[in-house]
């Protein structure tokens, strides 16, 4: 029997992997992918609670998150391409002009 705790464990694992990916990877593409993992961890969480409480609000909210994630990916990739055209690189540690 798969209980809600299993879903929550998967969700927490995805969140952890995504967070570590965002913090540790240098390639911005990978960072964006890690952000998708974090969002999906949230989605899993929302849907699990939706099923558990027998309410659709969580599922609707998850669809919103997916829509926003698509928009976010589009804008993020657009910025990424512009960055690549200007700097010839997509390494996050090489983009550090906004400092003192």
């Amino acid at each position: 029997m798969i209980t809600i705790n299993h879903y929550l464990a998967v969700s927490a694992t995805l969140l952890l992997i995504g967070t570590l990916g965002v913090l540790t990877r240098r390639n911005i593409v990978v960072i964006l992918m890690s952000i998708e993992l974090i969002l999906n961890a949230v989605n899993v969480n929302l849907i699990a609670f939706s099923k558990y409480h027998n309410q659709v609000t969580g599922q609707v909210f998850a669809i919103f998150v997916i829509a926003v994630a698509v928009a976010e990916a589009a804008v993020g990739l657009g910025v990424l391409i512009a960055l690549f055209r200007n700097k010839g690189s997509v390494q996050a540690d090489e983009v550090d002009l906004l400092k003192w």
Partner: protein, 623 residues
Amino acid sequence: MVNLIWLIPLIPLGGAAVLLLLGRMLPKSLIKVVAPGTIFAAFLLSLGAVMESGGKPHEVVLYEWLPKVDWGFLLDPLSSVMILIITGIGFLIHVYATGYMDHEGGYYRFFGYLNLFVFFMLILVLANNYVLLFAGWEGVGLASYLLIGFYFNKKSAGDAAKKAFLFNRVGDAGFILGMFCVAALTHGSLAFRDLHGLTAGPLLTAAAALLFLGATGKSAQLPLFVWLPDAMEGPTPVSALIHAATMVTAGVYMVARSSAIYSLAPEVSAAISCIGATTAIMAATIAMVQTDIKRVLAYSTVSQLGFMFMAAGVGAYWVAVFHLMTHAFFKALLFLGAGSVIHGLHGEQDMLKMGGLRSEMPITFWTMAIAALAIAGVPGMAGFFSKDEILFYAYLNFKSVFAVGLITAALTAFYMWRLMFLTFFGEKRTLVHAHESPLVMTAPLIVLALGCGGCSYYAAQLERWLEPVLHSNHSPDIGLKHVLMAASVFAAFTGILLARYFHASTGPLGPLTKLAQHKWYLDDIYDFVFVRGLGMRGGEYLGSFDRRILDGGINGAGLVTRFVSRASIWADTWIVDGLVRIAGFSAMFASLPARIVQTGFVQSYALVIVAAIAAALGLFWVK
């Protein structure tokens, strides 16, 4: 016609303007007509105006020049005599000059200046106040300067012009101060009509003395006479017109014009007689040893001017004017005759190289002989009456001046006839073939010679004519007059006879000869005191004062400024800038902790966010 007297000076001014502005383009033959023509027109107008006025004073005021001072002309008996002399003799000299200057360059310039001179001279004598008189006074000085330096290629001519100008400035300073005194006395009017009714006092005495200082400059009296002999560097007609007949008598005219002042200042009048007498005898002795024909005449002019001041000083103003008039005739004639001789000998002026010219230049000889008799004081000639009157009034008022005057009269006869004997008698000492001058030059000589003989007979008329203007203390002592006359005639003939035998002598004055030859060392004294003393040595002192004290002060101020500015720079760099830097640095140091947070590295921000969330969750958990 008497209302047109303002036109009299204006006509020569027009001539001068035309000649100086357009003269370069005019043909010589036209200049020969224009230049004497304007003077002749002025002469005719003067004659008409004088006849019409009949001796009544007449003033024409053109406009108010300065407050209370008019641009006004005054025709009275005194100025009548003066304008007739100036325009009449001026015309003759102009005519003569057309011949004399024929071969010279700058023809139009010469006549332009000469006309300009006549204009200013007429302004001087027609002025109805001191200010306008002074304007003419300065103007004739300018014309004199320009004409003395006419041969401007010659250094000596330029030097002589400058000398004349500078010596006149000394006198003019006195004149201006005198005018201030007169202005104070007449409450600012300075008009001659306001001179009557003044009262004696220190201010009036000062005015008299200072005005006379002006006269000593213009009329070449001690101590300022040394410029006049040097002025002979100018062309001979200039010497005749300006430095003998008219301009140099301006001082005498001015003293006569101011007789109302001088009659109230007896001390100054006495000083004038003494200065006149001293100048007369001093200049006469110098004239005795000169060898340059024009210089003899120049010193003679100085001496005769001394006679005029003798007369003015003893209160016989009309006699001074009378002598001025006769002197204008015979001295103009002498100068023109000398010019004729120089012209005939192609520029030779040294009398020792002349001699025997009597037969070659008969007209010049006879006319000059008449003038020489006149100046010597031979009876029947112009100078006889005027000089006699001077000696008479001197005898009445001032015996020692009379004695000096009598001796000077004898010396005058000597030096003038020395000139005549050296020039016209004896062996001819030059190889140059002399020629008699052309008619334009000899005709004025003849007219002047007639004047020399003629004008003397009008002494009594002149005295009566001048009576309304110049107070005359007529003395009816006819017997005394005849005795004095005999004395002066005796002096004259003694002088002429001595000249006959000693004219070739190199030391006619005995022990005094050397003194006279060196012009009584006056030039040397001026040179020593003013040129070398004040000029050069004083210049050195002033120079070292300038270098040491003035420059020292300036350099010191510079050093102080430099020091102050150094200090200011130091303060600026270390204190003002330091404060600004400290403010900047302190802001920088204060910002250091905040700054290191902002790495620009996105993932470190993300780490902070994650850490913060973890911490918040941790706190939440602990609670």
